[in-house]
């Protein structure tokens, strides 16, 4: 009997030992997973400006939804609805897009990210006259800011894309920008375990082990870009009815801006401060550079020679220098262009179809100062996204422009 008890005791002890050992193993594995996830788990909530619905989509919400707009075009005055918005991405897609946006692994040699030219600290532009791509290549045009691109229907200065997904393939695969190829991009990302897991989180409908697809990359980047909302400037407070939001000088600037003398609001129409049209205004190219035909090429239309997309002016204070070639260093220089005479900077021999709003408004120096005062009231970065601390690729995050 004693023997039996003894044996049982030993068996129990062994079982206990095995159990404990097993338990420790499992605990270790679990902790390892948690370490991985705490680094790169995608956000389950929407960024500011969006409400999560039951389909796990982030839908845009803002005070302009109180209003209507004529013919639903999203152009008008102070209390006018915005144009149709691009929304409905999941929180995970937006967050994955954020990682991709800042990750230089997207470029051919791992040196250039989207944020290289679209730095959140510089209004999602780069502070340079013209962008600089892979291997320090000087690009043709200035990097546009990205705030509120969710409301745009034309992309690039020459309006050659109509969707964000189409647009972002431009820089990704241009030799002088990020220099990548679709094949290489897919191969690179599929070889990074972190990204494989993150894409599985962001696109849960497909099998977890499926490889990353190009369209998933595009969707994620578009999701992040369309989450960059800036609609809470002091101008907006004024527009919604708070008269004290702007001081006397700024209101004077607003009145000059919307008057038919300066005519700024005719193309930079509230609430987005663009009417999303092409305009030939005849700004000068930087010294030594050839004339940029712009939208003439896109539309194969000589009447649009030298035409460019009217940019939004929201957060314009942050995105100097200005115009398609970054020719003007300051806002003051930029507004002054419009009063220096219709066609004053058009090269000899160019017979452009200058826009009819380009005329001779004879604005005074004081009026130009007031316009700049007003333009600075369009600044709002309260929803600026966080730059990731670590990147899924393991590449060190860059702060090129700051």
């Amino acid at each position: 009997m004693k023997k039996i008890i003894y044996i049982l005791f030993i068996v129990l002890a062994v079982l206990l030992l095995v159990f404990t050992l097993n338990h420790d193993d499992k605990k270790q594995v679990k902790e390892y997973v948690e370490v991985l996830n705490s680094n790169f788990e995608l956000c389950k909530t929407c960024p500011p400006g969006f409400q999560l619905n039951e389909e796990n989509e982030c839908v845009s919400r803002n005070l302009y939804m109180q209003y209507e707009s004529l013919e639903n075009k999203g152009v008008g005055g102070l209390k006018t609805a915005l144009p149709k918005v691009r929304d409905g991405f999941s929180p995970q897609q937006i967050d994955l897009g954020r990682y991709l946006f800042f990750d230089p692994v997207l470029s051919a040699d791992g040196t250039v990210s989207c944020a290289t030219c679209h730095d959140p600290e510089l209004g999602f532009s780069d502070g340079k006259e013209r962008g600089v791509g892979i291997k320090h290549t000087q690009l043709k045009r200035s990097s546009p800011g990205l705030w509120n691109v969710a409301y745009l229907n034309k992309f690039f200065w020459d309006a050659r894309s109509t969707t964000l997904e189409e647009q972002l393939q431009g820089p990704l695969f241009a030799d002088d920008e990020m220099g990548n190829t679709p094949e290489k991009l897919i191969e690179t990302l599929n070889n990074i375990e972190n990204y494989k897991q993150l894409f599985a989180q962001a696109f849960p409908k497909r099998k977890a082990n499926d490889s990353i697809q190009l369209h998933e990359i595009y969707t994620s980047l578009a999701a992040f870009e369309s989450s960059l909302i800036s609609l809470n400037s002091r101008y907006d407070q004024y527009a919604h009815g708070y008269a004290k939001a702007l001081n006397e000088n700024e209101i004077e600037g607003l009145n000059i801006f919307r008057s038919f003398v300066a005519r700024c609001a005719e193309c930079h129409t509230p609430p987005l401060f663009t009417n999303q049209q092409i305009a030939v205004i005849g700004t000068p190219e930087p010294e030594g550079l050839p004339f940029d035909a712009g939208a003439e090429i896109t539309f194969n239309d000589k009447t649009r020679r030298g035409g460019f997309k009217v940019p939004s002016l929201r957060n314009i204070e942050k995105t100097a220098p200005y115009m398609h070639s970054g020719r003007f260093k300051t806002l003051r220089e930029t507004v002054e262009f419009y009063t220096k005479g219709r066609g004053h900077a058009v090269p000899k021999g160019e017979n452009l179809y200058l826009h009819w709003h380009i005329w001779e408004p004879n604005l005074t120096d004081t009026e130009l100062d007031r316009l700049v005062d007003f333009l600075k009231t369009l600044t709002d970065e309260s929803f600026k996204p966080k730059v990731p601390e670590k990147l899924p690729s393991g590449i060190q995050i860059q702060h090129i422009n700051t």
Binding site: P48, Q51, L70, F260, Q277, I278, Y353, L354, W359
Partner: protein, 502 residues
């Protein structure tokens, strides 16, 4: 001396009696004494033509009255006014830009002894009136010497602009843009270097009983729909009445325009439009010009003495304006209907291109009506009455008159978007507050579930706090006041925040 004194007294008495009689009579008989002008009701629809089908709003005037006299600023009254108020402006000269970013404000100029309240821009100021609010009514002003516009609206609906006298106010006289449901009537406009009355990118506008002369364009309907231009007198402009689609604008169409019962005569003024402007290409002597617009009906106008052509219908390419093409905007005029019009003595001295057409058509007379370029579906009644070029493709109209259309205004005012309190709270919370607050995580400010514990059943407490935040926690930054939100938005968002869950 005594005699002299008596005579002197007589003169004094007589003078006194005369003076008394004069003032007494003035007091009794003058219709212009200050109390006699009653505040207008803030109504949009006035029964202008004796026709009962245009309903009159019964909205009574309920607001405060501000009186502005010579030496005051109209703008001081605007700053104090709230929706529903009336600003009465007495004769005098006011050199200012009146901007109105509020709803339902009425400006009533009071003319006394032919003395007008005059807004004088002295060729230094840009605009006399600039409004963005709905329900703006401006009447009874003389406006002169501005550089941009007499009256410009951006997106205000339900406006009334009437009885104004606008002389040389720069580019446009009366210019509503992005507006819905507006009435422009009984105004006189002259010396405007573009369009005197310019309806740009609007819907449902009636332009009635105006006198426009000595401008580059008298009345222009551009990229707008449902517009009635009736009973106006347009003369001695470069072009009398225009219906356009201009390419490159965000709203791309013009259709459903009726031009009827107007006098359109002797529009032979030299073109003094600014170089590059669309109207600078209009030849002097143009009565009615339809460019690229669709569904325009021209009926019962008296069109006479326009030396180039009475009515011209053109596509954009032949319109004489140099502007970039716009693939999103249809450049051709379609479904133009010319009903009965009285046309005499037009086309007596046409421009070279039309002279060439006359030669080609073996015609010694210039055209009453010219159609040039592409376009389809157009028609004309009794074409044999007129000298016409280019109307071979015009058919017989399917209608003979437009008498069923009394007005193209809306039956009732365009209403602002209806919004529940809950939706306003939602828009405010996600549109503004979510930058710093999330439900159960710390962003910058307190998590909402903590706020819910502090302010349970007390939304007003939240409103008080956001108006005047006090930093109660050392571990959080101080919240900036959110007092710029409207009172409705504040209480709506406070209530909304107390209801949300994870």
């Amino acid at each position: 001396m005594g005699n002299n004194k008596t005579t002197f007294n007589k003169i004094i008495y007589t003078t006194l009696i005369l003076l008394l009689g004069f003032f007494g009579g003035y007091k009794i008989f003058s219709p212009k004494s200050a109390g006699a002008t009653m505040p207008v009701k803030n109504t949009l629809f006035r029964n202008v033509s004796g026709n009962d089908s245009i309903s009159s709003l019964t909205k009574e005037f309920t607001g405060k009255i501000f009186e502005v006299k010579d030496g005051d600023l109209i703008m001081d009254a605007v700053k104090k006014a709230t929706p529903g108020d009336l600003i009465r402006v007495y004769p005098g000269t006011y050199s200012e830009t009146v901007y109105v970013d509020k709803d339902d404000i009425t400006f009533q100029g009071i003319v006394q002894d032919s003395n007008w309240p005059t807004l004088d821009g002295k060729k230094e100021l840009n605009d006399a009136f600039l409004y963005s609010g709905n329900g703006i009514q401006i009447e009874g002003f003389k406006i002169t010497k501005y550089k941009g516009n007499g009256i410009m609206g951006q997106a205000g609906n339900n406006f009334v602009i009437r009885n104004n006298w606008v002389v040389d106010t720069g580019v446009y006289g009366i210019f509503p843009q992005y507006g819905k449901n507006g009435l422009i009537e009984y105004n006189i406009l002259t010396e405007i270097e573009d369009a005197a009355i310019y309806v740009g990118m609007c819907d449902n506008i009636d332009v009635l009983h105006n006198e426009v002369y000595g401008n580059v364009a008298g009345i222009e309907i551009e990229n707008s729909r449902h517009c009635l231009v009736e009973n106006n007198n347009a003369y001695n402009n470069t072009g009398g009445i225009l219906a356009f689609i201009t390419p490159g604008l965000p709203i791309k169409t013009t259709y459903d325009v009726i031009i009827r019962n107007n006098f359109v005569h002797d529009n032979n003024h030299k073109n003094f439009g600014a170089p590059g402007s669309i109207v600078s290409g209009i030849p002097a002597g143009t009565g009615i010009l339809v460019m690229a617009a669709d569904d325009v009906i021209i009926e019962n106008n008296i069109i006479s003495g326009n030396k180039n052509v009475g009515i011209v219908i053109t596509d954009f390419a032949n319109g004489g304006a140099k502007a970039s093409k716009d693939p999103e905007s249809d450049p051709n005029p379609d479904n133009i209907v010319i009903l009965d019009n009285l046309m005499v003595n037009n086309g007596y001295d046409p421009i070279g291109e039309i002279k060439a057409l006359m030669l080609a058509n073996l015609s010694s007379e210039g055209p009453d009506i010219l159609a040039i370029g592409k376009g389809s579906g157009s028609s004309i009644l009794n074409r044999d009455k007129y000298v016409t070029f280019g109307l071979k493709d015009f058919g017989e109209p399917k209608i003979t008159d437009t008498r069923d259309v009394k007005s193209l205004l809306l039956d009732k005012p365009a209403e602002p978007r209806k919004l529940s309190k809950n939706k306003l709270g939602e828009y405010t919370y996600f549109g503004v507050c979510s930058g710093c607050h999330a439900y159960d995580i710390r962003l910058i400010g307190l998590p909402v579930n903590v706020i819910q514990m502090i302010y349970k059943n007390n939304p007003k407490g939240i409103v008080e706090y956001i108006n005047n935040p006090k930093n109660l926690r050392d571990d959080y930054p101080e919240m900036p006041p959110q007092d710029y939100l409207s009172e409705e938005a504040k209480i709506a968002v406070a209530e909304y925040m107390l209801t949300i869950g994870k």
